[in-house]
Amino acid sequence: MIGVGVAGVGIHPFGRFPDHTVTDLGVDAVRAALAEAGAATSPQAAFCGTAYGGVASGHRVLGRLGMTGMPIIDVEAGCASGAAALMLAAASIRSGQYERVLAFGIEKMPKGIIRSSFFEPWQEAAGLTATPAYFALRAQRLMSNSGVTEEDLTAVVVKNRRHGSANPDAMFRSEVTAEAVLHSRMVCAPLRLWMLCSPNEGAAAVVLRRADRDWTGVRLRSSVVLSHLPGPVLSESTPLSGSCDDAIPSPTWRAAQAAYGESDLGPGDLDLVECQDTDAARELLAYEELGLCEPGCSPGLIRDGSTAMGGRVPVNASGGLLSKGEPLGASALGQVVELVRQLRGECGSRQVEGARVGLAHTIGRGANTSVVILTR
């Protein structure tokens, strides 16, 4: 079995950058990752994750760096696009096809209102495409199934914004109070404005390399991308109907199981987790789906501080999407960059002490779920 190591990471801060093209953002992140990896790790192939980057996004970035001539493949898997790029890059090393591969993700939302190509025009006209409404329905089900309260949702926001205040690459770097969260505008009950993440812009890059026994750096232990099973009506595949069978496993649960199986690690081994907090309830649901707690027990983890900095398994030490915002194609690799830096002990005031095992999780339109496990 060929091992996969992380030779270098780079990130362009997440935020809004009206004076920079998506290519500019990508060049920054890729240059930084290449500089860390060093000249001896020049990539033999590249995978670029993006949802809105347009035709030949990866080539435009690598063309600016004189790095074309190799296979350059753009991949799209919604918010998991960057993770899909990473998965393909890792697979090509594990298979022995390449020794050094670049995975990067870039995003800059198009100007004006984004009309997802995922929906048909009649679904828009019928009022069936309000994304936060689907999040809200899922939140409501979690509240009724697991006893999550409005205070718990608020606590997730307060925690992540506190974590994010120490992350120079985050868009929002100020803490918020529970009171302020509870007084923010109700978007779709039970979700208020500050409980929802903002789509934004950014880029992140990871250089992977073949890692033999003597590799002492961070290792990529598993990198799974899976889609949903038919049935669940509130799956991120947003069907207009579903079955009444509540036993169908979610894609996050399945991806996590696959990733634990691949890496011979379990939820008890994790020192930190970066998970999809597109809304505050989505983070709590991830606790259950990733096995950080038993089903129905997510409120316990937020109430007792287990997932806050200093707790048993800090979740979203980076501040999460609630602090960083969500540049779709870059989002999943942004999590990976954070984990790599945490495992290297480079995170200063937001460092999770002694972190050896980290997990990153995203779920996006498709549905595509990714679970990545890294170790030091």
Binding site: G127, T129, L137, Q140, S144, C188, C244
Partner: protein, 130 residues
């Protein structure tokens, strides 16, 4: 009155959503497509879904999503019809506090147009008046 899309519902005094039932696995889906989204079989028969069901999840949409020209706020949720299908739907009730889990809901057709042009007919579920 034009429907927002052909083939979604029957009109008249007792409207029904038009789903399809798979001849192979028996499961129902909505809207009707010509293949079964559960097993992929291409033998499916159109069927009318029950017009009364139970509320399973709900919220309210406060800002109009892109491409929607009807009124806001509007209710939004999932209703269970019969024992095997859950359907995503607008709700006529836009105050989440006025609704409760398992509440009986009945299909209605209403206007999602912009009020200026010809009415644009779509479906919603309304609390069943006892």
């Amino acid at each position: 009155m034009t429907a927002v899309q052909e083939g979604l519902f029957t009109e008249g005094t007792d409207p029904h959503l038009i789903g399809a039932r798979c001849r192979s696995c028996g499961r129902q889906h909505f809207p009707a497509t010509d293949t079964c989204p559960y097993c992929g079989a291409d033998a499916v028969d159109p069927c009318e879904l029950p017009s009364v069901g139970r509320l399973w999840a709900w919220t309210a949409v406060t800002s109009p999503p892109p491409g929607y020209h009807g009124t806001v706020p509007y209710g939004f949720g999932v209703v269970e019809l019969g024992d095997c299908i859950r359907v995503v739907t607008r709700l006529t009730e836009s105050d989440p506090a006025s609704l409760h889990a398992g509440q009986a809901m009945r299909l209605v057709l209403d206007d999602v147009g912009d009020g200026a042009d010809e009415p644009l007919l779509s479906w919603a579920f309304a609390p069943e008046t006892p």
